[in-house]
Amino acid sequence: MTTFQLEKHVNYIKSLDKKTDFDSVVMEHLRMSGAYWGLTALDLMHSLNDMNGEEIAAWILKCQHDCGGFGGNIGHDPHILYTLSAVQILALFNKLHILDADKIARYISGLQREDGSFAGDEWGEIDTRFTYTAVLCLSLLKRLDSINVEKAADFIVRCRNFDGGFGCTPGAESHAGQIFCCVAALAILGALHHVDRDLLGWWLCERQVKAGGLNGRPEKLPDVCYSWWVLSSLVIIDRAHWINKEKLRDFILNCQDQERGGISDAPDDAVDVFHTFFGVGGLSLLEYPGLKSIDPAYALPVDVVDRVFYGQKN
């Protein structure tokens, strides 16, 4: 059986920061999320201490705008997605206290619409991804009271479909990534009773294809990123035992670049930090030995989430 190349993945992620190839420019606008994926994967592999938290925190603050929101990189516009990544990274380094939580909360609550939905930024694109982002970010900052949480949950419910899943907006088709956002947001809002666990759990477990990997919608190809989106949703609603975990584990392991580290979307494809994170996150949810366990809703290591909500362990 293929084994997990922990050391190679750690080195791969560490090498990304210095890369200057074409892909690194393509990704420049979402460096904040890239950093979150890489650093969280490192933490799951017990290697966060190798990174300079002070330096990273200083860079993060340079991406913040006067409105309170963060851009994906220095000089890029503020957006709710990168605001969450910034908050998540600071949670990893136990540095949430350097943030002006009220200022960020004002930015996010300003993006909530009358119907409870959230826009991604001042330009008004609506998507349940942004609801998750808003809810998660405010929960980590203990500022959920700055938005209308009932309406936020109501909007998610309006995006629920006949198959038990959720889409981007009311009427949109169910998609595993979107389902993760909606289920996790409802979990954090204490509103999981809106989810039909058996109906959704069945749709989600049918995402597993014969070869073991998971797809994001019926009759699509499997992809490592769904190891996170499908599996975390299944864990939140306690239906993860409805899939074959061994087969999924082997699929993820087969997507590793055994020589140079990193994980790709499918076997033999080019690796990237996004799929490396979702692969490691998936293995963590599968209780792969030697990895920290990850919280399925906050998408941060469990010890980080517990530290945020319950303080330092003895």
């Binding site: 190839d21 330009w123 204490g190 939140i236 899939i243 790709s264 690796v271 399925p296």
Partner: protein
């Protein structure tokens, strides 16, 4: 990178080409950011930005810059024709950008933003969409954009149905089109007559798909929606499905030494007796749907003591809404006499009032029956399923379930769940059953038709199908073992339904309890149960043995407000949080959770199944900082006397035991050792 092949090990990629592309992109990006910062919207600046977005439409700041530019240009230019030209250029750019990345959220949103001005032709948009969905028929950005365009144009759902039909007929495997169809039809189905016709047509379409592509998931999923629509009732509830005391029961209360404890004996399916130390009689109402508040009144004739407002508390694992509600009927020594108690529950949606009444007789003095001892351990006479049996293969378990299975009879206690179905509904379901049986002749042991047949038979509801459905789930777990636990959970649920549907069914499962055990005791060990369902039919249970099953959660048990003793040893309970529902069972004194999987799993799948600080329902749980917040959250407030935890990984952890003892000051025995 999605779909891009890995570069072979040992070879070096040609960097020079990469380098040139990289420099170009980097230059365009920094120029756009600079112009954005300087608010420079010259023709040249916009052209550079367009080049950038054609190369990489994901640079969201680039789209923001363009929106500001359009606003700026509109400030100067008020002529509508010129404005339209400006917007047309934007639409053309989006088209080019989508050619380099058809999944770019930023590009699609820019298009919507432009269309919102109302100056552009929608016909062009539909032409474009037609082309796109022809090439990439599952592109959800395209489908979402179509929904947006339809709304702008004012097309009705009826008109749009033709498009859905066209896409489905092109390819039965287009789940996006089936989904679209379900949303359109939901708004078309109005009155019963049109519903009947529509469903008939839909079944024809979906049946065609089964026979053409029997292995494709799309149509089979669509069937679940059709089934739900076929079976939906006009009186959607909520309805009262259970209560304690039951309607028509007789409750005798004996008060000793002035007030406490109360000894209650009652007649239900069986005669039973219980002692309460709270000085109150619990009243339980169970509904078939969750509600956020319960509109129920309690009336006692003649009036008892000080009539005060009865408060109903929700009992779900999540706080509200809840299916089960509890209230206390206070009883004092001054209230000796005979009473009738009326519970009236009104349903907010259907305006229906359900009445439950029971006779209450209050006396005082020593009934001389029960003597509680603190040292009493919780044990059952007779042989319990052995550990070896637990390890045995589940299929064998499933067979054993069948051996004890009685023939179910309708007309149990308070059966309001019986479906009142119209003739047309029944006809549709029967036609489907026939078609699926035909298909199975051709595709023997094929998963989708088998599963669908099981569901249609179950939806039909006739008890004569129950055993066939159980067989089907058993077969499915054999032929599709990857999802075996899904089928076994369905099996387990239906099995409990079957045996609890009638009093006779229940009594047959008591075969090893009769005689030596008191009534009010229920022993369901070694049955392969996955979840405890239909709890509303078992509200009278005082002692419950669910050991040697496959339970992963105790959800539902919170409704058992008379429960004193619970044995869930030898199950698959994975964590402390999976016990959370027991917090609401105030009467519980003996608990055996030994030989489960508590402490064996780093991933807690019940972490989000009850209120905590993580779910923002409880703020900073008791300030627990020793890593045991779950223990405090679950056990804190329980009044257990006896607890067994041995055989769990966590049980050998000294810190775990300490936290348990701290959370349970009332505990007398832990793993048979005095505390």
């Amino acid at each position: 990178m999605h779909g891009r092949k890995r570069f072979p090990v040992g070879q070096t990629p040609d960097k020079s080409k990469d380098q040139a592309k990289r420099e170009k992109l980097k230059k365009l990006l920094s120029e756009t950011l600079q112009n954005h910062h300087d608010r420079c919207y010259t023709k040249e600046a916009l052209q550079k930005n367009a080049q950038l977005l054609e190369l990489n439409p994901e640079f969201y700041t680039g789209w923001n810059y363009r929106k500001l530019a359009v606003r700026h240009l509109f400030d100067v230019e008020t002529d509508e024709t010129v404005r339209k030209t400006i917007l047309d250029q934007e639409l053309q750019l989006v088209e080019r950008a989508l050619q380099s990345n058809v999944k770019s959220y930023g590009a699609w949103y820019h298009r919507k933003w432009v269309i919102e001005f109302g100056l552009s032709s929608l016909d062009h948009e539909f032409m474009l969409l037609k082309k796109l969905l022809k090439v990439d028929s599952r592109n959800f950005h395209g489908w979402n954009y179509r929904r947006f365009a339809i709304k702008k144009k004012g097309t009705t759902a009826e008109e749009e149905l033709d498009y859905a039909t066209e896409k489905i007929n092109e390819n039965f495997s287009n789940y996006s089109a089936w989904h679209y169809r379900s949303t359109l039809l939901s708004s078309v189905i109005r009155d019963k007559k049109s519903k009947e016709e529509i469903l008939d047509e839909e079944y024809k379409l979906v049946n065609q798909a089964y026979f053409t592509e029997p292995d494709d998931q799309s149509a089979w999923f669509y069937n679940t929606w059709l089934l739900g629509e076929t079976n939906s009732r006009s009186d959607a509830g909520p309805h009262v499905v259970g209560s304690w005391p039951e309607n028509g029961s007789i409750i005798s209360v004996n008060i000793q030494d002035g007030a406490f404890p109360l000894t209650v004996s009652y007649k239900t399916i069986v005669n039973s007796e219980q002692t309460f130390t709270t000085g109150a009689l619990p009243l339980v109402i169970t509904l078939d749907k969750m509600v956020s508040s319960l509109a129920a009144t309690v009336r006692v004739e003649p009036e008892i003591g000080n009539p005060s407002e009865t408060t109903w508390r929700p009992l779900s694992a999540v706080r509200v809404p809840s299916k089960t509600w509890v209230a206390d009927l206070p009883i004092s020594s001054s209230s000796e006499g005979k009473y009738t108690v009326f519970l009236e529950v009104s349903s907010p949606t259907v305006g229906e009032v359900t009445s439950v009444s029971f006779n209450l007789e209050i006396t005082s003095g020593d009934p001389g029956s029960r003597k509680e001892t603190d040292r009493e351990t919780f044990s059952w006479p007779g042989k319990s399923a052995s550990a070896g049996e637990l390890e045995a293969d589940t299929t064998a378990k499933l067979e054993r379930l069948d051996i004890c299975g009685p023939t179910a009879e309708a007309g149990c206690t308070q059966d309001t769940t019986e479906l009142k179905r119209a003739n047309w509904q029944e006809k549709l379901l029967e036609a489907q059953i026939e078609i699926l049986r035909d298909l199975l002749e051709l595709e023997r042991n094929s998963k989708w038709p088998l599963l669908t047949l099981a569901r249609v038979l179950a939806a039909h509801g006739s008890t004569s199908f129950t055993d066939e459905v159980l067989e089907l789930y058993k077969l499915l777990s054999d032929i599709n073992p990857d999802h075996g636990d899904y089928y076994k959970a369905q099996y387990s649920c239906l099995y409990i339904d079957k045996v609890t549907r009638s009093a006779d069914g229940l009594k047959k499962l008591w075969w090893d309890c009769q005689g030596s055990l008191s009534s009010g005791w229920l022993r369901w060990n070694g049955l392969g149960l996955h979840e405890f369902k239909y709890v509303e039919r078992l509200l009278w249970v005082q002692r419950l043995d669910l050991s040697h099953n496959r339970l992963r959660t105790l959800n539902g048990l919170e409704a058992l407000q008379l429960l004193e003793a619970l044995d869930v040893s030898h199950n698959k309970l994975p964590s402390v949080t999976s016990l959370a529902s027991l917090r609401a069972v105030r009467s519980l004194q003996y608990l055996n959770i030994s030989h489960n999987e508590i402490g064996s799993h780093p991933v807690d799948t019940s972490r989000y199944s009850f209120p905590s600080a993580l779910t923002n329902e409880v703020r900073d749980h008791l300030g627990e900082r020793d890593g045991s917040w779950e223990i405090q959250a679950v056990f804190g407030g329980m009044k257990l006397k006896v607890l067994a935890i041995t055989g769990n990984t966590a049980a050998s952890d000294e810190q775990f035991r300490k936290s348990i003892l701290k959370a349970l000051p009332s505990l007398k025995l832990l793993d048979e050792e005095e505390v």
